[in-house]
Point group: D2
Chain length 341, copies 4
Amino acid sequence: MINVGIIGGSGYTGGELLRLLSTHPEAKVVSVTSRKLAGKRVDSVHQHIRGLCDLSFEAPRAAEMAERCDVVFTAVPHGTAMDWVPALLDNGARVIDLSADYRLPLEVFEAAYGIKHRAFREAAFGMPELHPEVRGARLVANPGCYPTGASLAAAPLVNAGLVDRVVFDSKSGISGAGAEPTDTSHYPNLAENVRGYKLTTHRHYPEIRQELTRLDSKVKVSFTPHVVPAIRGILTTAHAFVREEARDVIQDREEISRIYREFYKEAHFIRFPTGVPMLGAVRGSNFCDIAFEAEKGSDRVVIISAIDNLVKGASGQAIQNMNLMMGLDETTGLWFPGGAP
Amino acid sequence: MINVGIIGGSGYTGGELLRLLSTHPEAKVVSVTSRKLAGKRVDSVHQHIRGLCDLSFEAPRAAEMAERCDVVFTAVPHGTAMDWVPALLDNGARVIDLSADYRLPLEVFEAAYGIKHRAFREAAFGMPELHPEVRGARLVANPGCYPTGASLAAAPLVNAGLVDRVVFDSKSGISGAGAEPTDTSHYPNLAENVRGYKLTTHRHYPEIRQELTRLDSKVKVSFTPHVVPAIRGILTTAHAFVREEARDVIQDREEISRIYREFYKEAHFIRFPTGVPMLGAVRGSNFCDIAFEAEKGSDRVVIISAIDNLVKGASGQAIQNMNLMMGLDETTGLWFPGGAP
Amino acid sequence: MINVGIIGGSGYTGGELLRLLSTHPEAKVVSVTSRKLAGKRVDSVHQHIRGLCDLSFEAPRAAEMAERCDVVFTAVPHGTAMDWVPALLDNGARVIDLSADYRLPLEVFEAAYGIKHRAFREAAFGMPELHPEVRGARLVANPGCYPTGASLAAAPLVNAGLVDRVVFDSKSGISGAGAEPTDTSHYPNLAENVRGYKLTTHRHYPEIRQELTRLDSKVKVSFTPHVVPAIRGILTTAHAFVREEARDVIQDREEISRIYREFYKEAHFIRFPTGVPMLGAVRGSNFCDIAFEAEKGSDRVVIISAIDNLVKGASGQAIQNMNLMMGLDETTGLWFPGGAP
Amino acid sequence: MINVGIIGGSGYTGGELLRLLSTHPEAKVVSVTSRKLAGKRVDSVHQHIRGLCDLSFEAPRAAEMAERCDVVFTAVPHGTAMDWVPALLDNGARVIDLSADYRLPLEVFEAAYGIKHRAFREAAFGMPELHPEVRGARLVANPGCYPTGASLAAAPLVNAGLVDRVVFDSKSGISGAGAEPTDTSHYPNLAENVRGYKLTTHRHYPEIRQELTRLDSKVKVSFTPHVVPAIRGILTTAHAFVREEARDVIQDREEISRIYREFYKEAHFIRFPTGVPMLGAVRGSNFCDIAFEAEKGSDRVVIISAIDNLVKGASGQAIQNMNLMMGLDETTGLWFPGGAP
């Protein structure tokens, strides 16, 4: 049994780790921290796990956590994780960091987040479908939610060298913005609305760009996020414009299909639904559903991916990474369907 | 391993049985029927279970189903189940009927549903918290969604003989109305709306009345259902007016609490949250969350229950019944938290 | 032309007054106050009125407001309005107070709101359908949103002396809770949920009780509010239990209908729709739609009313009051349909 | 007073015409047709206009309608309007056709809609901001909802010759799909979801392309529509990629702003909000709110437009056209704010 710790367990990604780990056959949460809530029962905040979790929030130090845990998830804001990660690693724990602190090269991180990194380390980028080096890693940087949906949608075509430019237009449920009420999450502002934000400046852009230019250094990448009236889920519409010489290739549906299936042949969580991806089909699950359609007589392929932002886009992928780091099958504890309807 | 069959697997309760049974450690779905869809892959309808179910819809006869299955769930409309149930039983299968056909005494059923029963049998009423006789039963009538939320909310107080009259005002997600589009389920008609319907004539009323008058024959029961803009969940507000002699009792919060905890002391799926029940806390799970508040200086206690109508209100409770019929712990395969947020 | 001032114009009721008055043929908003936003353009907060309002927020004193305005709406929190109202009146303005400060007798107010009244005055209760004395009044206390929907639903039957007990179960859109983000208005907490709150202690209860016991001093009244996933609207379900001697009366649908139509024969904003009331049909409008159904062979009548909480439940009714105070037809500037779908 | 007829008044655009015209000071609806509902009261279908409309549906012939009406709106499906329009025109009525039958050149229409045109006529394209020839026209083809939001968002930049390629990613409320329940409009399928559809083949594409290539024949145009969980509204995200020589221009926010303001200097219904456009700010109104942001150091400008699909995207724009055809100010009867919150 893997002993698990969660640093920063009061938010949505913390709650989702608790939900998912409560049925994991090989892992057991032994400590959940929250400086603010130390001493309170965990299920007083996360009412949905009542009956399945007897823990109270604690406020231990990193060394102590590392001693009690085989694996620690850091589910704290960016800029805070870096205060935990090195001490956890140095005291022997494996770490999966759900913040942005270890996802990007040092300079790119500092430019995007506007803070100086106090404790940089090399990490595996925790998107197992693109990064087999997660297996056995000691530090994994769990990707952002948008980068997961966007990269998985376009990677096969980009990897095949077909794509000149790809424009990601993403639509996210509001849980990605966290458990704290804001103007954006205020029901009258979000219901019956769609809200574009950080139209050209979202911090997830460098991650998306990094993942795709790894596969084809010349590909041009654009990204604009929106929030939609949904709790969970990200639907990403990728408008891919192919190179002149690839125009014929994309008119052959079978060929695109072959490229995707080959690229993801060992990826258990990638599915190709009949029809367009629907958020309900992945809700609560670790699946990423992908479909595509080439525009007749044009250079455009539209690819759509659907994930649950809190699962494949955060805590589920983190557990998938844990499984691989610990030598388990990647599906352990995650092999259940989406929650439609 | 229990071999399971599902008669009528194309709707929401069928899909939910498939979702829940896909992770049940002791049961395996071996056949799913749909006359209309016979030959089509099950995951072409239920996209969310893609990857976890390789079956195609079949159209076998009852005897054949009974031969292949230890337990059969009938998830067909009322009036249709009666064409399956006796043959399934007579050929050796245990049956859990999710329709209304076996929930009520013959005459009550015929009056409420306006049809003549063609094949009546005695069944255990499948609400294990009130009906221990489910354990070992061969035929279980799975309760309606509203009766589950309503009866569980009020049963302890009614059983204690305190209640003179109880008014149930229920608010349901629309999935209870099924997978077929209707005027009521049309998004522009339901979003930003609350719709009362069958204000005094809903067919679930006789079930609620039956369950509560079993506990106190004199209790007066009223019921009005509404649909709200939600996919899943029923929140039931029970306005209980107590007998003259019980007015003091209800002013003692500890005493009410004691009555509820004692009544449900062996019920794993009943929880008492801090604060009011929230549909998110039970979403996708088999829990029923209950809270109450007595009006100061009055004869009224307000009790609120929250369930997922497709789980504790239908398919989850059906599996809970299966577990008990087959001698398993009632929580087997159902012990996971709600899907908040 | 009536010169209008709005004290406290930054919230939802202020914005709604501005929206409705922007097309009123006989009134013109000349000043909108907000201490916090003084100097900022009004349309920087209320983007929807951009192009129809050139004002900036001001922070004048009461005497100055009274001098510039024929009518002043006070749209500030309870406990604050009392600091404005007397000075406005004494300097010659007519006042419509949208807070709770003048809705209840002094002692009832102080008990319900837990504050000492610093400046009590007699006011007309601003529900014109029940209070013809609004016409010509100098101070009108605009009712709460729940009391409007509840009182209008039950008043005719109560007035006819038929009702022994009435239980109001109300379902409100969240805009009633204001423009400030809270845990309750946080989208992931409200969407796909129904939330009962202040189950037996809501401050609107004394208003409802006051309005109905005026009509029949013996009627028993209960009230429980909920928020539902909707921006605007209150649907109130009134479960009325009639006196023993009235059981036959309510079984005659025509008779109930006659009672309602007679009671509201001069009320322009009361409508009796075919079928159940729908929030969409009243959305954005000043209408209150009412329907009823008696339970066969029982003592219960279910009445449902639908209003827009920000219009008939607040700013629209306030303008209706203004019209009557100023000798206009009550429908002036308010005679437009609901915004379905 | 303009006498108005509505052919096909039972759907959402018909209901919206009735809603908007019920307060129009210069027009009066004298006839509403529906073959299916002839004889029924109009407010039995459109409950929201109850009290403001005493008409019943009729089934007159075109010549009769033309005789009774100065202006006729045809709100019937494409392929049906062409059976009405010529007879209405030839009998002296002015016509505003809300279908697609007269929006495109003959061959383009026949290719896009797959039907042979039986009665082609030249029409003015009814987007007054781009087509001043609407003033005084006898036949106006009212644009599609997506083309309105998309064309208005990009027209100024395209007209300035800056744009090489523009990708429209549109998010629409479901009322655009009509009043008939479908799988797509089924609440459990749409709530908590975003659904791309006709990803590269939507019939509104030729309209968008037509409107923008009129302004710059070389611009490349792509379009993908989605439905989101909203009743009303279209938010269009335009990803515009500018020509090499225009890269510097777009980095100057003032210059883009100048281009937009100049282009729309006489357009009353175009607004430039502070911050991003919100559907609530235009809900129920004829406004189109537009904002933009250039990506730093890139060739991309993101423009977002928000309209109410049933108003500026259909019936409101149709009335704007009527006003201009009849020599009225374009804002007559339409000068009211959006319905936020």
